[in-house]
């Protein structure tokens, strides 16, 4: 069993602040969390937020429909900039997804007990982010209805995908990632679904939660296998999550375009992903703990830790940018040199410097405990980082392409309103799913909170 009481003890001792408010027992954590789901009355803010996000989903529908009818020409893409917002957004969303898996898998392996209260919705966030990401590779195609050609199947043409293409790797990586995340998330949910089944008052809820819980009854043997499965999945998900963003970075690193063709991409994409992901977790958890009064479960300790992770990854990413510039100059390759100079001084220079400001300068405030202790400040920084990471992808995609080898084919890329609608639309879809999730599923893992309570009590016993 991963989080043995003793480990939790150790973790708790080193911990500066508590990771669970005082005075909670099995019953109270159970009731507090399941109450959120089973509450009769839906909070007003939820209804408002839900409707807003729903409206944005409709915007997405409109944009995509028009896209399929008219063609990708409605976007700003052209030659030389064949990829624009679509791929930028794809990488951005995928990156965001990574934090969830990281928290649920890697931190589990590293026995970080503080993950307990945030991993459930972090994982959910992963799923939602990946589903937003998944839309773009599909719709950015000139003929999306033929997307299935990217997968191998015996067809009447005897044709196969080209397995040398990073896009095919992408297709496999992203779909695998989505599937595994979903499974991981679901088996984590089973015991809590059982809890809801047993707490639910009205029959439909009982039925639905009951079916989903698959008749979980908390048998010791079941728990044993459940724990093993979770650990195995964590072990699998960890290399998977690293591979996914590595492969996403291959989309660029495998191309010969100056600014893409760099060995540094995989590590710095992964770091960037975690960076973006944690920023998004913060962005979500801060309002959620406020609105659902979960300050005792998602404590300042959590926010503080996430702030630290943010800072750490910010430094890695910053190092990435530095090395990119350095190797460009050091390489002596005129195209690379030009590329980096063009980023810094060319038509898109503002984007580049704004990105530096967002991703490297701003997070430096997190060195100060005071800042990390201010919820508002953390939230602001997280938002800035979200923006910064989007800009990073913009810079990578656009500034590399718009001026490559032959000056004769240089061009400038301007997004159209449809680029923006589609992007905003996916943000809407993301929020839409988040709202559904926090209303109808336990947004904190109940059974793991119970284990946490158990460990707290042992701590008392020891003291």
């Amino acid at each position: 069993m991963a989080d043995s009481p003793s480990d939790k003890l150790a973790a708790a001792e080193f911990a500066s602040a508590p990771i669970l408010g005082p005075g909670y027992n099995y019953a109270s954590v159970t009731d507090k969390i399941s109450a959120i789901v089973l509450a009769r009355r839906t909070p007003k803010w939820w209804i408002v937020g839900f409707l807003v996000s729903f409206a944005l989903v409709m915007l997405l529908m409109v944009s995509v429909t028009y896209l399929v009818v008219a063609g990708v020409g409605i976007w700003g893409i052209q030659i030389p900039v064949g990829w624009g917002f679509a791929i930028i957004n794809f990488v951005w969303w995928i990156g965001i997804g990574h934090a969830g898996t990281l928290i649920s898998a890697i931190l589990l392996l590293l026995r970080q007990t503080w993950r307990t209260s945030i991993n459930r919705f972090a994982e959910a966030m992963t799923l939602f982010a990946v589903s937003c990401a998944g839309i773009f590779p599909l719709i950015h195609m000139g003929r999306p209805w033929l997307a299935y050609w990217l997968f191998p199947y015996p067809d009447t043409m005897k044709m196969w995908p080209n397995f040398r293409s990073p896009l095919v790797w992408d297709a496999f990586a992203v779909s695998t990632y989505a599937t595994v995340s979903l499974l991981f998330w679901f088996i984590g949910l089973i015991p809590d679904l059982a809890t809801l089944r047993d707490r639910a008052k009205n029959r439909p809820a009982k039925l639905i939660y009951g079916l989903l819980a698959m008749g979980w009854r908390g048998s010791a043997v079941h728990w044993e296998r459940h724990e093993t499965a979770s650990l195995l999945l964590a072990g699998l998900a960890t290399p998977l999550v690293l591979s996914v963003h590595t492969i996403v970075s291959f989309d660029f690193a495998f191309a010969i375009v100056p600014g893409w063709h760099a060995t540094i991409f995989p590590p710095y994409f992964v770091a960037g992903a975690i960076y973006a992901g944690f920023a998004m977790v913060l962005t979500l958890s801060i309002p959620i703990r406020k609105l659902f009064h979960l300050e005792d479960f998602i404590t300042m300790r959590h926010l503080d830790n996430m702030g630290k992770v943010l800072l750490a990854t910010a430094l890695i990413v910053g190092y990435g940018y530095m090395m990119e510039a350095f190797s460009a100059f050091y390489s002596g390759n005129q195209y690379e040199r030009f590329m980096i100079l063009n980023r810094m001084t060319g038509p898109y220079a503002p984007m580049y410097w704004l990105l530096i400001a967002c991703n490297i300068v701003t997070p430096q405030f997190l060195w100060f405990r005071k800042v990390r202790a201010k919820v508002g400040a953390l939230f602001a920084i997280a938002m800035v980082v979200n923006l910064g990471m989007w800009l990073e992808r913009f810079v990578i995609v656009v500034t590399s392409l718009h001026r490559d080898f032959l000056p004769s084919s240089w061009g400038t890329y301007y997004p159209t309103r449809w680029d923006i609608f589609t992007f905003v639309g996916t943000i809407g879809l993301f929020l839409f799913l988040v709202f559904l999730f926090i209303r109808y599923l336990p947004l904190i893992s109940i059974f793991e909170m119970r284990t946490l309570v158990a460990s707290e009590e042992e701590k008392k016993a020891v003291n």
Partner: protein, 216 residues
Amino acid sequence: MAQIFHRSTNTISRVSIYGAVILIAVLGYAVDVVNQTSYVTEVHNARPQPVLFSHKHHVGELGLDCRYCHSSVEDSSSAGMPPTQTCMACHSQIWTSAAILEPVRASYRDSTPISWTRVNAVPDFVYFNHSIHVAKGVGCTTCHGPIAEMNITWREESLYMRWCLECHNAPEKYLRPRSEVFNAFYKPPSDQEALGKRLMAEYKVQKLTTCTTCHR
């Protein structure tokens, strides 16, 4: 606590889960099967024609050579459809009053072409050339089937790319001597493989599977 579900739910739920998996597999296979059916491929589906022309009679019984009507097959991409003139060459002499031939006579009389219904067609993005296939020893009936037995002409093969590649990957299985190309009654010999290999060498037949062979 009371039971929420009846005993049977256990079985039902398990069956439905594993059933779903199997169902998906079956559906996938079904699509492939349907694509092979004559409903999709039109294979063996005799199509109505303005004139009840019988290859069985003209080729099978009278033994007309393919080239008598499809005259450009040896030097053009298209095998060519016979002008009314060609029909009238004989039918101005025989069956001159047969009702069945009225459309032909009418066409000749007031110079309005007969519009036949296409039986063998490939998509617009496929560029097929009859002359080179004929020149390399691919017999008419290899693709067009037992034409000498067709009263109303039907399509013998799916004309799917997969089908084309069967021969382009292994011509030796299908080649025949040039002298036999237009023989509608040709039966491949028992040692087809050996013969095919010999002819491949003799006719310098290549295994062309590169895209631009057919797609431009």
